[in-house]
């Protein structure tokens, strides 16, 4: 995956709770067998006025002028602010791929759904949890100041405002290491192949019914 260390960029706000993965990338785009090309269908049902289908030329579709990412001032959004329980719903990793392909690298919200959170981290997309009051304040700043920019510094785990105000955030040490170095989980796990084999040998003795071939 693409590594992520520091992100400085335009911030947009989607001030609602429970933004689900069906809203982030509707089901018709999940028919793709590819891992890329989801950016133009991020928030498809909110972003366009018509109903889209895969294979269409999406650049010709009518845009919803009220949707935040369609507004000129948010054209280069790289950081998204949103309400709590972000990414709830299905396990579709296409949701994380859609943000990545669109160019959004960081999402800041008071809470994230577990599966989305994991999927994001595996695709160079950083979910940052800040408390509700702070997120509300940042959303207000974004709305009041055109061109509002935040800096996310992953090594020091800080969100920095243009005024120099700093908010710290938490992230698992292991995930942070993977993000900063753009590491592939599988390579790392396979360095422990001996331990996996040893586990299997022990378990086959203890619980052989778990090892029946299908």
């Amino acid at each position: 995956m693409e590594h992520l260390e520091n992100v400085t960029g335009i911030v947009a706000a989607l001030d609602r709770s429970n933004i689900d993965t069906d809203a982030i990338i509707p089901k018709q785009y999940l028919k793709s067998i590819r891992k890329f090309g989801f950016g133009e269908n991020l928030f498809d049902a909110w972003r366009y006025l018509d109903h889209g289908e895969p294979g269409q030329d999406h650049s010709k579709r009518p845009l919803n002028p009220d949707f935040v990412l369609n507004q000129a001032r948010y054209r280069d959004t790289r950081i998204l602010l949103a309400g709590d329980n972000f990414g709830c719903g299905s396990s579709r990793e296409h949701a994380a791929w859609a943000f990545r392909d669109y160019g959004i690298r960081v999402i800041i919200a008071p809470s994230f759904a577990d599966i989305f959170n994991g999927n994001a981290l595996k695709n160079g997309l950083l979910p940052v949890v800040l408390d509700e009051t702070t997120v509300a304040r940042l959303i207000k700043s974004v709305e009041e100041n055109e061109g509002y920019i935040l800096t996310i510094d992953l090594p020091s785990q800080r969100v920095i405002t243009p005024d120099g105000e700093v908010f710290n955030f938490e992230i698992d040490a292991f995930r942070k290491h993977c993000l900063i170095n753009g590491l592939d989980d599988i390579d790392m796990t396979l360095t422990h192949a001996d331990e996996i084999h040893a586990y299997e040998t022990r378990r086959r003795e203890e619980a052989p019914w778990l090892f029946t071939d299908l």
């Binding site: 609602r16 709770s17 429970n18 689900d20 069906d22 809203a23 089901k27 018709q28 999940l30 028919k31 793709s32 067998i33 590819r34 891992k35 049902a45 109903h51 895969p54 294979g55 309400g83 709590d84 329980n85 709830c88 719903g89 299905s90 396990s91 579709r92 990793e93 296409h94 994380a96 809470s111 759904a113 577990d114 599966i115 994991g118 999927n119 595996k122 695709n123 698992d172 040490a173 292991f174 995930r175 989980d185 599988i186 796990t189 396979l190 422990h192 192949a193 331990e195 996996i196 586990y199 299997e200 378990r203 619980a207 052989p208 019914w209 778990l210 090892f211 029946t212 071939d213 299908l214």
Partner: protein
């Protein structure tokens, strides 16, 4: 050893190694695969020249894209067809056991796992699908994963994860007649919210849970994810063991006896500590109906659509307003006065034989109301369909005017041809009422199978405990 919860036991028995920060390498016993979230994973393996770690523990089936009408005619949508063909091809190339579209055992992945005995107590079970929580009903640690993890499990038979916190929801009392596990889980989500279980594994316990059939337990655990929890769990007991006996992939002979002895230990210890404990009484529970665009937006059938203006929290108030507008509902409307256009009985939540029996019992001798443009029953698997036909349930549905379909996910998420049109309202036994879930602009009301059946015959929601 200190007292353990069921989740602790399942977790601890699967840890291969642990990083300093608590990230564990967790061994996966069973991997279920479907066509939507696996193609990129197989492609990744091929690109990197990797094989499968343990081929014979993967079970694949196409369910999301498959048509529910004439199977022999194949899939007409070329993009859906390519996805299903890709699964068939990947399974052939990698040697994965697959129930293809024409296999009589084909069905929804979360129906066929338990049905085949491929899901067993004490296992870790994963699938690239959030409703994998369903399998926790068999005292298995089961959760949904994304495609990167699908590839990771195929290549290493493990997953990297941090341990969740323990939550127990204890249900006292006894569910009234015709009030089901589906109503119970909707009421639980209504109480704790869609993020109530985030970061937790939820164990459902108590006398009302013990009294549930396996099918109802699966409905409850299925929607643990709608309460924010990746995993739902129910301890193993006689109901679990009786359900599994004789299933194709379940152990037999001496191995069965050894397994059962082990499964009897798959309960939380008496003095086990939970991070969160919640108690609810089932005694006076009414059938539940969702009115909004999140499963937590739910009321009893004898209730009313809420008034957003009475909500103090501004974010929640905005959410309610948006939901009411999307759903085309006025505050204060009686749930009895809501009339669906379509009725969908199916999905990994409610498409098992008992669900179909409950719906058929309501439908028997009645006709679908004139205001309903389509009422459909989509069995969860080919074997559920066959059993229902042997019991004559298909005839009851067809005589009443229902459409009797082939198994698959169907209108739960409308990836195949079954969908709502914009503005259409549906009484649905599925699990998500998100905007556009059942079709662009479609409006979903989540209910139990008997409630959906009653809405089909009456043309509006009714209280099935009163008819």
């Amino acid at each position: 050893m200190s007292a353990e919860t069921l989740y602790d036991k399942l977790w601890n028995s699967h840890v291969v190694r642990e990083e300093e920060d608590g990230t564990a390498l967790l061994y996966i016993d069973r991997h279920l695969v479907h066509e939507v979230t696996s193609p990129q994973a197989f492609e990744g393996l091929q690109k990197n020249g990797r094989g499968l770690w343990r081929t014979a523990t993967n079970l694949a089936v196409a369910d999301h894209n498959v048509p529910t009408t004439d199977r022999a005619a194949g899939i007409s949508d070329p993009i859906s067809k390519l996805q299903v063909d890709t699964l068939d091809n990947n399974c052939a190339v990698f040697g994965v056991t697959e129930f293809d579209m024409l296999d009589p055992r084909q069905g929804i992945v979360h129906v066929i796992g338990p049905e085949q005995g491929a899901t067993l107590p004490g296992m870790t079970v994963v699938c690239g699908d959030s409703h994998t929580s369903t399998h926790g009903a068999l005292a298995a640690l089961a959760f949904g994963i994304g495609t990167s993890d699908v590839e990771h499990v195929l290549a290493t038979q493990c997953i990297l994860q941090r341990k969740a916190r323990n939550m127990r929801i204890n249900i006292t009392g006894k569910l009234p007649e015709r009030v089901t596990g589906k109503d119970l889980i909707l009421a639980i989500i209504g109480q704790i919210g869609t993020a109530g279980g985030t970061g937790h594994a939820i164990e459902f316990a108590g006398p009302a849970i013990r009294a549930l059939s396996m099918e109802e337990r699966m409905s409850v655990c299925n929607m643990a994810i709608e309460a924010g929890a990746r995993s739902g769990l129910i301890a193993a007991d006689d109901t679990t063991i009786d359900y599994l006996k004789g299933r194709p992939f379940a152990p037999s002979g001496e191995l069965w006896d050894r397994a059962v002895e082990n499964w009897r230990t798959l309960t939380s210890d008496d003095d086990a500590k939970f991070d969160v404990e919640i108690e609810m009484d089932a005694t006076n529970l009414k059938p539940q109906v969702t009115w909004g665009t999140s499963p937590e937006m739910v009321v009893s059938v004898d209730g009313h659509v809420p008034d957003a203006d009475t909500i103090d929290d501004p974010a929640r108030r905005d959410g309610y307003r948006r939901a009411l507008e999307y759903m085309g509902l006025e505050a204060g409307t009686s749930i009895f006065d809501i009339s669906p256009d379509k009725v969908f009985i199916g999905s990994c939540t409610n498409s098992r034989i008992e669900d179909l029996r409950a719906a058929a019992a309501i439908v028997d001798g009645h006709k679908v109301a004139s205001g309903i443009s389509l009422a459909m029953v989509v069995p969860g698997s080919g074997l559920v369909k066959k059993q229902a036909e042997e019991e004559g349930l298909d005839k009851i549905f067809i005589d009443a005017g229902f459409s009797w379909r082939e198994p698959g996910c169907s209108m739960c998420l409308a990836m195949n041809a079954d969908r709502l049109e914009a503005g259409e309202r549906c009484a649905s036994t599925s699990n998500r009422n998100f905007e556009g879930r059942q079709g662009h602009g479609g409006r979903t009301h989540l209910v139990s199978p008997a409630m959906a059946a009653a809405a089909a015959v009456h043309g509006h929601f009714v209280d099935i405990t009163e008819i």
